[in-house]
Symmetry: D2
Subunit: 368 residues, 4 copies
């Protein structure tokens, strides 16, 4: 079975390539009665969009979503909901040199090994362009979890290369992530204003040096009720893990105390329960999930993102027949994808929450 669907009960199926006609998603399982219009989707797409931020790719896509079905008179109908985003600025000719060469760090070789042929234009289906469909679906998921239980998913950049931010996940707000204190755009999506200038400088330096930077993004999901997650395999942590690892360039995921927590003792790591009408914990090393089920505490996750493989410099490589060659990627690329990664990952996390909510409550009861 091929793998272009995600989720069970709020299930998305996507299609589209970097330089094809467009990218689209069908959402199956959205509950009826949710207020939704194209503006809701456009707002999230704008956060992911290239060409509007000096630090990212200059590809210029309007990314205007068309809701083709599933919404009637401003509300979801409960039937399948399709959203199409047409590709506008697709300069396929940038990629002609790559028809027979495999770019290091890219999926050119593995797609060819798997399928025997590939759409080489801009990476085809392997391009991060496909995430536009995820973000469109995520916009619906975000509206759903907010309407259903006041749920909110926020992400921010916590590390660029070796520069680490210090952010209080319990207090960080969407506004700080999107705007600097002076109201100008936060191009890095890093709310730690102390390290922000250094991050900007290092990204600009990487661009000048025709190189790229990786980093880490952090996430919090708030107001998630206790009880979401389906042991023993579809634990909430397992589906979050899959969701994040499914995004291009993600190479590591942790939640709660994570890898650092592996060095703690049980007596430190265990979070004592706090008596009261709603059961909470004193600390939150468990990151809001116990036994793979949400505990009612905030959910904390982090994802490591490798540096982009597309570099505008000559790299040693091979052709499909195994001969030595060099490649120089001339398309429009990001020296650091972290700022644009944030809305993509938020979308996937919101999709997991929407899916688990409906798996547990059913489509009928999802909106109360």
């Amino acid at each position: 079975m091929a793998g272009n669907s995600f989720g069970e009960a709020f299930r998305i199926t996507t299609a589209g390539e970097s330089h094809g006609r467009g990218n689209l998603v069908i959402i199956d399982g959205c509950p009826p009665g949710l207020a939704l219009d194209e503006g809701d989707v456009a707002a999230e797409l704008a956060r992911r969009r290239p060409g509007h931020n000096p630090l990212v790719s200059t590809r210029s896509e309007e990314d205007r979503p068309e809701i083709l079905s599933g919404v009637f008179e401003g509300r979801t109908t409960g039937t399948s909901l399709a959203i199409l985003v047409v590709n506008a600025d697709a300069r396929s000719t940038d990629y002609d040199a790559l028809r027979d060469a495999y770019r290091p760090g890219h999926a050119d070789h593995t797609y060819e090994a798997k399928y025997g042929l590939r759409d080489h234009r801009g990476g085809g289906r392997a391009s991060a362009r496909e995430t536009v469909a995820r973000v469109a679906a995520g916009a619906v998921a975000k509206k759903l979890i907010r309407a259903a239980f006041g749920g909110e998913v926020l992400g921010w950049v916590s590390q660029v290369g070796v520069i680490r931010a210090c952010v209080d996940a319990d207090r960080v707000s969407a506004r700080e992530i999107e705007e600097l204190p002076d109201g100008s755009p936060n191009h890095v999506r890093c709310p730690d204003v102390d390290v922000y200038p250094a991050m900007v400088a290092s990204i600009e330096e990487a661009r000048r040096e025709r190189d790229s930077l990786g980093g880490v993004a952090a996430f919090v999901a708030r107001n998630v009720p206790a009880g979401l997650g389906e042991p023993v395999f579809d634990k909430l942590k397992a589906d979050f893990g899959k969701a994040l690892f499914s995004i291009p360039a993600v190479v590591g995921v942790e939640y709660g105390a994570g890898f650092e927590g592996a060095t703690m003792r049980g007596s430190e790591h265990n979070d004592p329960f706090v008596p009261g009408p709603t059961i909470t914990t004193e600390t939150n090393h468990h990151g809001g999930m116990l036994g793979g089920i949400s505990s009612g505490m905030p959910i904390f996750l982090r994802a490591a993102v490798k540096p982009p493989s597309s570099l505008p410099r000559e790299q040693r490589s091979v052709t499909a027949s195994g001969a030595a060659t060099t490649v120089t990627t001339m398309g429009r690329h990001d020296p650091c994808v972290l700022p644009r990664f944030v809305p993509i990952a938020e979308a996937m996390l919101a999709l997991v929450l929407a899916d688990h909510w409906i798996r547990w409550c059913g489509q009928r009861s999802a909106l109360g």
Copy 2:
């Protein structure tokens, strides 16, 4: 939908509780003609079994698997294959005190929040006892991937608490993981003999202090052909991530250069392709997967495991009604689960490979 199945084409469904009648798995999609007997399964269960290692739980389970269906005259038939492992040493009375108290760090509270009732005996379905069914299924998956493509999955303990091992993942062998150079059992499953004594000492110290330790395990999958993985959601890295995060106590997963790779530049991280009849890469920062598809290079993964929550000491907690109480877990527990985690995680990784192999090749063609 509940979450007791894993995989699509080589699909396992498990059932069983810590102190119920037994644990079982049905495997659906095993190709016909694979040689299999109960000894194959028993060998893997023995690696996971408690009571045979001074560093782990003293619960004594024989863990004798019974193949109930799907095998005829020593070969799999292609129809559903069921394996049952009866629970022998189930001392439920150890747990009577926990009927109304929530153990910190455990799933008692979240199961109750989700289901409204729970089998409190030894954690019921939330106990790591359920992994016996995973290991049984993993034994079949291991035979399958070996028969199909010479595939091998090896895991070892690379960190206990703050003690880190240094292991060459390209060369490490099953024998070094299971045995010390003098032929005695490697109780930690750590092939770095330089740090082995310190790891043993720290686990013994934790037990004496009624505390527990976390750690990290590392894995390599060898001989995996290029082409496995189903973009864009069921990437091989995504399903490995889900597989590992579905195991109790796993709090972090990374592959290839992982979190460390987030600090690298693209020019360092990109692995140049090496010309030749089979396409390989000079370095392997990509950990054997590009675009979520296996590249033919060895696959490297690491998982962080939190310290066990069950501590034989008094901990502050609450009752189901939210009143303050204390709990002292008196059952038989592991001060450090890493040694037993290795075969469980290997099983899950083998299941992912078996599943993706059959997703791609079909049941008919899976054994050539």
Copy 3:
């Protein structure tokens, strides 16, 4: 993907062969809190059991179900529920002659063509013995739909060979189906006492003549609320159709006016809506489903069953290598499976209703 699971949200997975160790089912998705014990399951298995009815197979199976997991202190826990029925009276030697010969009308040839090998003892996995696991799961589904919405599924034999019964589906009761007016067992499960003696006589005659009879069974599902069914593919009628066709020997399925309805005009077939607080229809040609969704009216279905292929007489056939041979099936078989088909089909219909109920309401809300 192999096909040993049925349902999405109340999902069963079965394993077992005719002459293996036993048959078992794992139910994933049963809501927590349903009262259930082994007696509930045993009662349904008794209705299906051979050896207790002069008209059916003399194989003597006690069919004692063991609930291995998922029930705690008399209630379902919401986690996976496993039931095992051990095979007791498995006389494999009856089948030695069939190791290399294909019985006409049986799956011997097609299993061999598919899998390349087969468990020939009693048909192995292709035997109707596997339906014991369906009936066990159906017993749970029946309790669930009764508890959730007062749902009831009743079936009866409406035709044996060419003898047709006349039964008022709106009024027929379980008691009439199971008992004759004098309190003795209704061996045919046909509540039309006028044709009952002729049906019995024709079955006995078929047995004497070493032949077999087909027939038709009819079903009504009552108290099903309007709104179940998931267009456009998982319509309730589609899943009922699949459920019935998945049972051995079923060769036709219809609902409402069915094939007869194909000869009606729209003006006759359309059922006028009746004004009132609950919307009903004057007639019920639509068989309780419109647009594939339950309408709130009783659901009517019928299934045609072919005559059993196992005949204790010599039949022309071929060996695996294609050479001519003859086979004489000497095992214990039914001259007419209709009486035993009724509880099997009821189980499948109840499973469809349980599944669609939970698909729509979720596990959390399934029991109100």
Copy 4:
């Protein structure tokens, strides 16, 4: 889980309403390398299209398919394949009167009962307009099964109202179904020229009388290799049954000897195997499937279709609030859907074969 996907390994997901922007399908799992262009899809859509046949609806849709993704340089890439068919002639105002009234025999009431709101324009998602997406996907499936194993699915109208055709399923050709002997279009898709005029006359009479007719269609699938079908639930007969019952207006399905076969004795019904290098049967009462697996013989199926519910005459009904009203359907409708049903049902049957082929062989090996 909602139900807008069909198939497991060659999986389609559809979206779209009668009077929305369009209908679309995403196919996930199509093997790479299949030659495909929009003309292939357009040809099948033309067979289903209204407005080009005096016997069917006058809605005029060009039904021009756009392949949005998954095809590169004339071949499928193995990644997800999307096809969009824009709705052109959508006269929503025809339906304004139906906003609050439930048409008898339609899904208006059940959709409202399920979802609490509905797109009333032309039936919204419940309209047979959604089958345009099925036919588009079926065009791909037809090309696939032909390329993979020479497979062919043919359907024809075998009964209109009470008029029955006599057709030799072993010999009937696509040409006879589409054309009359004089080369003019066979508007009924009935190759029995003796009854053809009577069928045309009865449909015209029904239209004049503002009434509608049901009927039966028959199907043969040729060159299907032995071995397709996944017992015990996803038997080939079960998935064919589901596929046909999922189509609007289908009320009965049978295969092989079907309901008629229920009156036969086992000794008549059993098809003797014929010795030879390829194993065949003398007769084909089993309709090409034994044990739910294809036997290598032609597969025969029949489906009963109820008379269309949309009648341009006054019918008694109720409003959403349960008050009495009358409705007169003024949209453009078919007095008999059988001619247009044929390509829709063929598409579904081809989808089942494509899906089972890939389930068994894998995407990698599907085209040899």
